[in-house]
């Protein structure tokens, strides 16, 4: 039956061509168009944050002043952290890829509340513009963590405005989260029970729960900051009998769960890709699904592990350390299940799979180095050094951003209807892999040897620690390789839009519903209702060399 449909998958109008003009995009309610606009905006902010990162790395390539002074450096690392966290990595996968594929994966026409979806995009744009303007014009240099009392007492204290920006962005997250939860609950086809959902949907669902529950705390923090500034009620400022450490509790009560907002969707993408490119049913489906929920719940109970040296009580540190280790177990379960999925599969190393395997490698390092930081006595030595910088870049960039890239490559044919060059894709993946490790691995060593983070210079440290120079030098060189890889990636992906060959319906042989519709999908996603089955059963799909497509055989 589908053999017939394959012949002209692009004859019908698709969501890209159905309407034209700027207004048709700005006022669209189509989740796919909203997803594409999110994707473009988020990648633009990634570029911005990346430029800041290169400035930081270039300043540190040699001791002494290289390209900027100390205040500019402090401003730069704040901009890098804030833009990457709030404008790239938190909204990244759910708002861009999730928006596009979640409804299609569920066989639905759209999300549950399309208008809310558009509102969330406008909130994102509004919040992002406000945030970036505040950051740049306010000369904010507090670090993205806005710790009090530094943030409330510096000359240019745009911290309240910056937190307002973060909170508007938080509302955009909440809107998306509400939408996803409602969509998953109400719009699944009758034949798709909870345990027939793709694991990416499980991951987005777990993420949405965290977004919904954690983001309001950011709002509370803002309210308290504003009350303190406007009415002099002491919450955080010691001169008003406030407690600066309280701010850290509030901040991490949101920002630690936010770490799982970042990583869970990446794990979801990895689960999809590892299975599809092994042509084998995902191993331990229920364990992977439950482990997402477990991570989401445990993630709320571990914020105090950012504060082992803050002066919090010994009892609090003990409890937070123990709970922190509990999060490592569901993560380990996922890794072992991915490995078992590879076993006896039929593994094809196309670009998305290269990134999927890279995720396992880099997340392995990022996750295991977390153990050093969860353990109390070692954390005392390692916290606030480059060790922690390396650790969170391995998890945030090495894992989440790599999974995001994997997802972009995996769904690129579906989103754009075009195939990119797989050879360029693989070569870029290799360059990115080398560049990433070149950048961040030396930071583990510098950090565990005592190099503190957020230092604009290390010249005065060199007499006693000559090795710090080598670490920074390697790191900066690696960052240029990473930049080169991203430029290449932008190049071949953009070329594919103009000159790529048309994508078939199912180029990689996925068994999810999104591969049953044409590439790109029509406005209503499906012209005929999709056949709901096990999302990881590949036995009915056969590769058809004539159309380069995987087709369903009875």
């Amino acid at each position: 039956m589908s053999e017939v449909a394959v012949e002209s998958p692009r004859s019908a109008e698709n969501y890209l061509t159905a309407r034209r003009g700027v207004m048709s995009w700005l006022f669209t309610l189509d989740h796919k168009r909203i997803g594409v606009m999110y994707l473009a905006s988020i990648l633009a902010f990634f570029l911005l944050g990346g430029v800041f990162a290169l400035m930081v790395r270039t300043e540190l390539i040699a001791p002494g002043r290289t390209i900027m002074g100390r205040d500019m450096y402090n401003h730069m690392f704040t901009l890098h952290g804030a833009v990457m966290v709030f404008l790239f990595i938190i909204p990244g996968i759910p708002a861009a890829l999730g928006n596009f594929v979640l409804p299609i994966m569920l066989g639905a026409k759209d999300v549950a509340f399309p208008r809310l979806n558009l509102a969330s995009l406008y909130m994102f744009w509004g919040g992002a513009v406000f945030f970036v303007v505040v950051l740049i014009t306010g000369g904010l240099e507090t670090g993205w963590t806005f710790y009090t009392p530094y943030s409330t007492t510096t000359g240019q204290s745009s911290v309240v405005a910056a937190v307002v920006g973060a909170f508007i962005l938080g509302f955009s997250s909440i809107f998306t989260a509400v939408n996803f939860i409602a969509t998953v609950h109400t719009m699944r086809p009758a034949a798709m029970g909870w345990f027939k959902m793709p694991l990416f949907v499980w991951a987005l669902y777990a993420t949405a729960i965290i977004q919904l529950l954690a983001t309001p705390v950011l709002g509370i923090t803002l309210l308290l900051l504003a009350l303190e500034r406007l009415f002099g009620i002491g919450f955080f400022d010691p001169s008003l009998n406030g407690d600066p450490v309280l701010f850290q509790h509030f901040f991490w009560f949101y920002s630690h769960p936010a770490v799982y907002i970042m990583i869970l969707p990446g794990m979801g993408i990895t689960s999809e890709i590892i299975s599809v490119f092994s042509r084998k049913h995902i191993f331990g489906y229920r364990f992977i699904a439950y482990s997402s929920i477990a991570i989401a719940l445990f993630g709320f109970l571990v914020w105090g592990h950012h504060m082992f040296v803050s002066g919090q009580t010994r009892l609090a540190s003990m409890i937070f350390s123990a709970l922190t280790f509990s999060v490592s177990i569901p993560s380990a379960i996922k890794v072992f299940n991915w490995l078992s999925t590879l076993y006896k599969g039929s593994i094809s190393l196309e670009t998305p799979m290269c990134y999927g395997l890279m995720f396992i490698f880099l997340f392995g390092i990022g996750g295991l180095t977390g153990l050093f930081l969860g353990s109390l006595s070692t954390d005392v030595h390692l916290t606030d050094t480059y060790f922690i910088v390396a650790h969170f870049h391995y998890t945030m960039m090495g894992s989440t951003a790599i999974a995001f890239i994997a997802g972009i490559h995996y769904w690129w044919p579906k989103i754009t209807g075009k195939m990119y060059s797989d050879a360029w894709g693989k070569f870029t993946a290799l360059l990115l892999f080398v560049g990433f490790n070149h950048t961040f691995f030396p930071q583990f060593v510098s950090g565990s040897r005592g190099m503190p983070r957020r230092y604009y210079d290390y010249e005065k440290l060199l007499p006693a620690h000559p090795d710090f120079h080598g670490g920074h030098w390697l790191s900066s060189l690696g960052s240029y390789l990473v930049a080169a890889a991203f430029i290449m990636m932008a190049g071949y992906l953009l070329v594919s839009i103009v000159a790529g060959r048309p994508a078939p319906r199912n180029p990689y042989g996925g068994a999810g519903l999104e591969w049953q519709t044409s590439s790109p999908p029509p406005v209503e996603n499906f012209t005929t209702p999709p056949v709901v089955g096990d999302p990881y059963d590949y036995s009915k799909l056969r590769f058809d060399p004539r159309s380069n497509d995987y087709v369903r055989v009875a």
């Binding site: 379960i333 030595h381 060593v445 005592g450 983070r453 005065k460 000559p466």
Partner: protein, 338 residues
């Protein structure tokens, strides 16, 4: 080939300077905590290396062995669920992380429980200087401690959060304004060790550096007696110069004419300066004293106040020395007192 190798060596050359380092991963072990912390570090390191090697080896082996090839298109039959296996790879990590937690906790409790007889030193952190106050009232910008004796630091901050970090001792503790935090350690060998600020505290964060000087117990006692009255042995302007350096004034107030976070001290004595509120002030004894004790009261035009008060930190006598030093740096009324 040789060319490639030598260019690689050139790139990675600076990294090879790490030869001076006794351990690859960790700095020198100079306190009693270092051995315990390093033991936990190495335990976690070897467990992690084992699992990482296992994961990567399996991944590579599976990818090579089960690669899709023209003669191998189909998957082989294998189950996609196995509860026993899932439990196995949940329970083993649970046991291992319980051990990691326990060892880390044990070491941490030790770090947070100072012995009763510890030698006490008060620490005040401010942007961007460290002040160490000894039992006899002497204050220094370096932390001198006796070897093989427990030392307890009672610490607070005058402005924002700082963090005292001594890598070779494996200790770190935040200093929070408005409360006292404590830490302790026992240095094991005489020498000089780095002391860093580890919590971001603004422009001069990377300059907030000091040293721990570990002396043999007898040497330490002699040093303290000597140092306690060093000021009295110096002429006042020399004593002021020492104070300017040791109490952190130099971080913001240069003596070479360049404006830093605060105005330079060179050639200002007797000058008339415009203030941010539009008034003018003559730099004299009273103005300098007021600027030290109530820094925010009158701010020179072109500057934003970042300075914490030195009330209770500098004695009247010491302020007198600083005034003498500033006078010696010249100005229109050099040497005269109106």
């Amino acid at each position: 080939m040789n060319q490639i190798l030598s260019s690689l060596a050139a790139i990675w050359g600076p990294w090879a300077q790490s030869g001076s380092q006794p351990y690859f991963w960790l700095p020198d072990r100079a306190s009693t905590f270092a051995r315990d912390v390093d033991w936990v570090f190495n335990f976690i390191l070897y467990v992690s290396l084992f699992f990482f090697a296992l994961i990567v080896a399996l991944m590579c082996w599976f990818v090579l062995r089960y690669r899709r090839r023209p003669d191998r298109q189909e998957v082989e039959e294998s189950p996609h669920h196995n509860t026993a296996l899932e439990l196995l790879w949940s329970v083993i990590p649970v046991i291992l992380v319980c051990l990691m937690f326990y060892y880390g906790f044990e070491g941490y409790m030790d770090m947070r429980t100072p012995p009763r007889d510890a030698y006490e030193i008060n620490v005040i952190a401010k942007k961007w200087a460290w002040l160490f106050k000894y039992p006899n009232g002497y204050v220094d910008d370096k932390l001198y401690v006796p070897a093989a004796e427990p030392v307890r630091l009672v610490m607070t901050s005058d402005d924002v959060i700082h963090s005292l970090y001594i890598p070779d001792f494996r200790v770190k503790q935040d200093l929070v304004p408005g409360r006292y935090t404590k830490m302790w350690f026992k240095a094991i060998k005489p020498g000089e060790y780095s002391l860093f600020c580890a919590e971001y505290c603004g422009s001069g964060h990377a300059d907030m550096l000091s040293k721990v000087v570990v002396l043999e117990a007898a040497e330490f006692a002699a040093w303290l007696r000597e140092a306690g009255d060093f000021l009295k042995k110096l002429p006042p302007e020399k004593a002021g110069e020492e104070l300017h350096r040791r109490r952190g004034c130099a971080q913001c107030h240069s003596v070479d004419g360049k404006a830093g976070t605060g105005p330079t001290l060179l050639g200002i004595w007797g000058e008339t300066h415009r203030m941010t509120d539009g008034s003018t002030a003559v730099v004299d004894e009273n103005y300098v004293r007021e600027s030290i004790l109530e820094p925010g009261k009158r701010i020179r035009e072109g500057f934003v106040n970042q300075m914490p008060t030195f009330k209770g930190v500098l004695s009247d006598e010491e302020i007198g020395y600083l005034i003498a030093y500033i006078k010696s740096l010249g100005g229109s009324a050099k040497g005269e007192s109106p």
